[in-house]
């Protein structure tokens, strides 16, 4: 494997010792704590709220006796629970039978149950019958999956596909794709290390880009006054972004707001982006899931490319194929030509290899089987539309139920917004009341996962929201 420019070179030091920098400071005094020892079976992550705060003192001083008896980790702080996944954990602990989990964005059917797509089950059966081996995938993943994934996003007739001026690598779902992209840009995008995110954005975007060594900035996006798109604010901010900065867009079904630009607004955004010569990173986690139509949901991505903007793109199959825990995703770089694509691919592999060597096969095989078999693909498109339609239906029912409750507020944004999430406009205090008084769980920003709403509980939800907002 060749060495990329900018990759630190292994330095072989002479054997002579170097004095280690020793940290001054008092010996760490950790709180004396006897915890109940959980049985090995249940040795999962223990609830952070039950634990003492960490000793924040500096690392142990170095008198041998003291160092031996203290821990290397005395100064390690207790990390805060993940805001999104933490909601589910709190929900699980709740014993109220009417409880609702509107936290994490995972689709539920009208019975509130996880939904395994029929096309997925069929694909799994086909794969099992072939009794394939478990040999390592290449670093870039399953080739048939990569190709099909690019075609799904870009359209099969895309000139990019025809000219082969792209590279797609399999990734660990959307997060892994964003991470590869972030690391790739940190290493090779020399013009800027500033990434502009919409305000607000998915909570995990910020730490992903930051961990990769990039700086985060924001452009206006959500208008809390209208619970809609702040188009003029976005245009204004974007037109002032320094040239050649990196800008991230949600391709469809914006997370967490559910607010998407209309096509004519996307056109203007693309035009400003071109004028400012910005580098575009599209995050598409919901293709098909937003409108029910995969082409419509990919429209913005395809439009930008047609305008000559060579984007990078993250895709996830967690939601639209219900493959959440299988970790299926892809990262695509649109290049000037096929030769550049080959060079980019080689560098992506150099990034991936020291991260996890090669990706997991199971989900990619399922996705590839579905995308590449006409029958299964057709069935999948129908099921995706079914999921999207159910969500759209729940939005409609929620609004009509709120009206029936007697709410005087304008809840139109609930049906204007699209995709899995809805920014209700509820304030943190109201959210807290919903959780405490009604056992309805959502993130503090007032975001609900509409996928967690069913015809059985939409009335209860409307009632609860009315109670905390009247």
């Amino acid at each position: 494997m060749g060495r990329a420019r900018g990759v630190p070179v292994l330095r072989l030091r002479p054997r002579s010792a170097r004095l280690c920098r020793q940290q001054p400071g008092k010996c760490a005094r950790k709180p004396r704590l006897r915890l109940r020892v959980p049985a090995p079976r249940a040795m999962a992550l223990l609830q952070p709220s039950r634990l003492l705060g960490a000793a924040t003192s500096r690392r142990a001083c170095l008198a041998p006796a003291a160092a031996r008896s203290s821990s290397w980790w005395s100064h390690v702080e207790m990390g805060p629970p993940d805001p999104i996944l933490g909601v589910t954990e709190a929900f699980r602990r709740d014993t109220n039978t009417k409880k609702m989990n509107l936290g994490v964005g995972a689709y539920r059917d009208d019975n509130g149950k996880p939904y395994v797509l029929n096309c997925v089950r069929k694909a799994e059966a086909q794969i099992a019958a072939k009794k394939m081996d478990k040999e390592y995938l290449p670093i870039a993943g399953l080739a048939e999956f990569n190709k099909a994934s690019a075609e799904l996003a870009l359209g099969e007739t895309s000139e990019v596909i025809k000219n082969g001026r792209y590279v797609t690598v399999q990734s660990i779902s959307g997060t892994g794709s964003l991470r590869i992209g972030a690391n790739f840009l940190q290493r090779f995008f020399k013009s800027s290390h500033d990434v502009y995110l919409p305000k607000p954005s998915w909570g995990n975007h910020t730490p992903i880009f930051r961990d990769a060594g990039l700086q985060l900035q924001a452009y206006r996006y959500y208008d809390p006054k209208t619970c809609g798109f702040d188009f003029s604010g976005a245009l204004d901010d974007i037109s002032k972004i320094p040239e050649k900065s990196i800008i991230l867009f949600h391709a469809c079904a914006h997370n967490p707001t559910g607010v998407d630009p209309r096509p004519e607004q996307w056109k203007e955004l693309a035009s400003v982006v071109k004028k400012r010569n910005l580098f575009v990173f599209f995050d598409m986690a919901y293709q098909g899931f937003a409108s029910g139509d995969i082409n419509r949901d990919a429209w913005a991505v395809r439009h930008f490319i047609e305008q000559g903007i060579n984007i990078v793109l993250s895709q996830s199959y967690a939601k639209n194929m219900g493959l959440y825990g299988e970790r299926v995703g892809a990262f695509t770089v649109i290049c000037s030509d096929a030769e550049e694509a080959k060079r980019v691919e080689s560098q992506l592999k150099i990034l991936i290899r020291p991260m996890y060597s090669n990706p997991p096969i199971n989900g990619a095989r399922i996705a590839s089987t579905i995308l590449n078999s006409p029958d299964l693909r057709k069935e999948w498109l129908g099921e995706v539309k079914g999921m999207a339609d159910r969500i759209i239906g729940m939005r409609t029912q929620l609004v009509s139920n709120l009206k029936k409750e007697g709410s005087s507020y304008n809840w139109q944004h609930i049906t204007d917004q699209i995709g899995m999430f809805c920014f209700t406009g509820l304030k943190p205090e109201q959210v807290e009341r919903l959780t405490k008084e009604f056992s309805i769980y959502m993130t503090k920003d007032g975001r609900i996962s509409v996928a967690g709403v069913t015809s059985g509980n939409v009335g209860y939800l409307a009632h609860a929201i009315y109670q905390v907002t009247k």
Binding site: L51, H75, T175, Y356, N362
Partner: protein
């Protein structure tokens, strides 16, 4: 069992992975009666293969070990080692990656003296990557007595042990025997990391099944460590793939399947051991110049044959036998059908080149 269980779905695992997998994977490494497990001071992080476990461990160490975000802590990797070790720690942000002497090409064995000297000379708190068993690529492991000496020096110099355990069970055929070094260090009171891979011993290569076992001074420390591991996992892959972990967890928690697995592992290890003895005896029968006892002295998947780059080139170009330029061969590539051909080819390479 998993395929026919219709109650299973494809939902997200927790960030740190499947609880049953994590607990049982750590149990496999540290032993059923591990006092550290009983004391609740062991944690597991499900990761994508051994590579993923190494990377998450490296990312954590760079953030939290020997100060905060101390990228200058020296990291020592054996000479030679698996090439990816260097990249893992470099990409995790460490700036000072060094080697410690390991392989003695003259005696075709462990350079223990050089190893211990390098440990004595290493700055305190340096991180040492140790191969738990079946050293890759040399197939040369310290004996138990040698491990004891290594542990003594590491304790005195406050060096951090980061074990890479990719072949537990695969080396000797016995899980406990292959975990002896890790368990000894734990018994000696070390805090350590152990990156476990289930790629080889479960044959689950492409499912990416790994576990980072964290052994700390007490439960409180381990819990805080795990909470920070969560943050790292969240920005790397959010949560790990479920399929392979379910397979391993199901196997490890079912007495029947567990017994069958141990047997399967022994079968794999025995075949490799057979190939070693068969190759060695053929070379000795052919009278191939040099000594070939190292082929059976070495352990695990790989053998450092001692072939030089020119001889390796001959093997590839003339005999269509593909091996690494270092002379490393994967013993698993040998079968009863090709042993003769490989032996005679090595003979030719050594006598002609």
């Amino acid at each position: 069992m998993i395929a026919s269980d219709t109650s299973l779905n494809h939902e997200y695992l927790p960030i740190l992975g499947l609880p049953d997998f994590r607990a049982n994977a750590s149990r496999i490494a540290l032993g059923d009666d591990s006092p550290a497990i009983k004391e609740g001071r062991v944690g597991g992080v499900q990761c994508l293969g051994g590579t993923g476990a190494l990377r998450i461990g490296a990312e954590f160490l760079r953030r939290w070990y020997n100060g905060n975000n101390n990228t200058t802590t020296p990291v020592y990797i054996s000479s030679p080692s698996w090439e990816n070790h260097n990249s893992v720690f470099t990409d995790a942000g460490f700036k000072d990656i060094r080697t410690y002497r390991y392989w003695d090409p003259a005696k075709r064995g462990l350079d223990l003296q050089g190893l211990l000297e390098d440990m004595e000379a290493a700055p305190e708190f340096s991180i040492f990557i140790l191969h738990a068993c079946a050293h890759n690529p040399t197939g040369t492991d310290p004996t138990q007595e040698q491990w004891k000496q290594i542990a003594t020096v590491m304790k005195r110099r406050f060096l951090f042990p980061f074990f890479d355990s990719a072949y537990q069970g695969f080396a000797s055929g016995c899980l406990d025997r292959d975990a002896w070094a890790v368990r000894y260090f734990v018994a000696q009171g070390f805090e350590l990391f152990c990156a476990q891979s289930f790629s080889k011993n479960f044959g689950l290569y492409n499912e990416r099944v790994g576990n980072l076992s964290v052994v700390g001074k007490d439960a409180n420390n381990v819990q805080r460590v795990l909470s920070q591991m969560e943050k790292i996992a969240r920005t790397t892959w959010s949560n790990p793939p479920s399929q392979g972990a379910r397979i391993v967890a199901t196997t490890l928690t079912s007495p029947l399947l567990f017994a069958e697995w141990k047997d399967n592992v022994k079968t794999m290890a025995d075949r490799v051991l057979l190939m070693r003895s068969e190759l060695r005896s053929r070379l000795e029968d052919l009278g191939t110049p040099g000594t070939w006892s190292h082929i059976t002295d070495q352990i695990g998947m790989f053998s450092f044959t001692g072939l030089n780059p020119k001889q390796v080139d001959y093997m590839i170009k003339e005999k269509h036998i593909y091996l690494m330029a270092s002379g490393r061969i994967n013993m698993c590539g040998l079968t009863t059908k090709n042993l003769d051909y490989v032996a005679s080819s090595i003979h030719e390479a050594v006598t002609k080149i």
